[in-house]
Amino acid sequence: MSLKGRHLIDPSNFTLAEIDQILTIAQDMQKEPPKYAEVCKGKILATCFYEPSTRTRLSFESAMLKMGGNVLGFSEASSSSVSKGESVADTVRVMDAYSDIIVMRHNREGAPKLASNFSSVPIINGGDGGHQHPTQTLTDLLTIKNLKGEIKNLKVALCGDLKYGRTVHSLIKTLARYENMSFYLISPQQLKIPNYIKEYVKSNYNVKIVETENLDDVISEIDILYMTRIQRERFFNEEDYVKLKDSYILTKNKIQSAKEDMLIMHPLPRVNEIYCDVDDDKRAVYFYQAKCGVYVRMSLMANLLGVLDDVNCK
């Protein structure tokens, strides 16, 4: 099936079969990078980053360069015409003329969706406010698929800021679509997952959801522990932030009772929610996750650009 010309704004834009196709090709790219070294020759990726995110931007740039393509773009709104108040619609209509595919990071929720209404080239949502982050989800799925063999029958704990945590929103919406999944949502009262996401997941998929404030109660039962940062910039006042930021700090001691094959994941960057003594535990896979991110973004872009026809990728 061809994904050529499609946008990725929300993970539900793709069927599970389409997601699987992206993951399978990403696995092949990981195995045999030279096969894909020139598939995007002559293609240009535009990175429209209205708020800085060095990691996501470099991950996309690395992915495009690994396939022989080129990149251009801006990395914060203040350094570009958008600081003069240009509409997203206008910016994207111009970038559309300069490039073959666009990744957009924006602090406002829904900005990439708006962009997709005005673009003739594929738009990829590189994170919009506290809403969605679908390419992080593809990254997470590839990590799980590589390390667990398949994505089903998993007990997944999502811990930290579930209210503004866009990576968590995209991940739970997507994982819920797989067979026999259960979720433990661990967060402070103030940072619980938004209702629209909980209602969506519950009414569309047959998943079990447990909401709790306490990580220690469930850590021995789970297959995946997905930690997120409690972000200072998502708070309206400093006092609330200080009170909550240390609620969930993972240490070597805390994971003693966890399963031997549990995966500890994190979208990075972390501040202090995973203590560094956890890093050398074999269950800690967050740096491996970052590596998967490049391959999955390669696969995503190659699919949306429709450049894989001549490559035997099975």
């Binding site: 929300d10 509409s87 997203v88 619609a89 206008d90 924006h106 602090n107 406002r108 929720e109 829904g110 900005a111 969706k113 708006l114 919009d128 406010g129 506290g130 809403h131 938004p194 209702n195 629209y196 996401i197």
Partner: protein
Amino acid sequence: MLTVNSIKNGIVIDHIKSGNGLKIFEKLNLTKVDYPVVLLMNVESDKLEKKDIIKIQDKIDVDLAMLGLIDPNITVNIIKNGQRIEKRKVGVPQKVKGLFKCSNPRCISNHDLYVEPSFNLIDEEKVKYQCEYCDDFTEYRI
């Protein structure tokens, strides 16, 4: 009983829940128009006990989606040459564009001048809508 002459051409917005008439009058900007308009309040009604009625002369393009948001039980009668040629129930609209703002302060539709807020109905009873941009819920209140 209070009588008001019937209109020749225009529309009659009927079965407005008593009290909502003035709100609709304001929402439709009828205080500022230069053609004849009438607002009748607390009129006796078989269906509602009391109701409000609005009559607008010489104009028929009234935003029905807006009426449905305010009061889905309203009926709209189109009058031509003194005859009622059409009677419509408005109902709660499935899709709404530009009539109210998204309640999510971080939504792009609240910050970009060139985007019209756009919603899909989620819950008819609560008049609850989901934003097409940020997915968040907004309950419409007048």
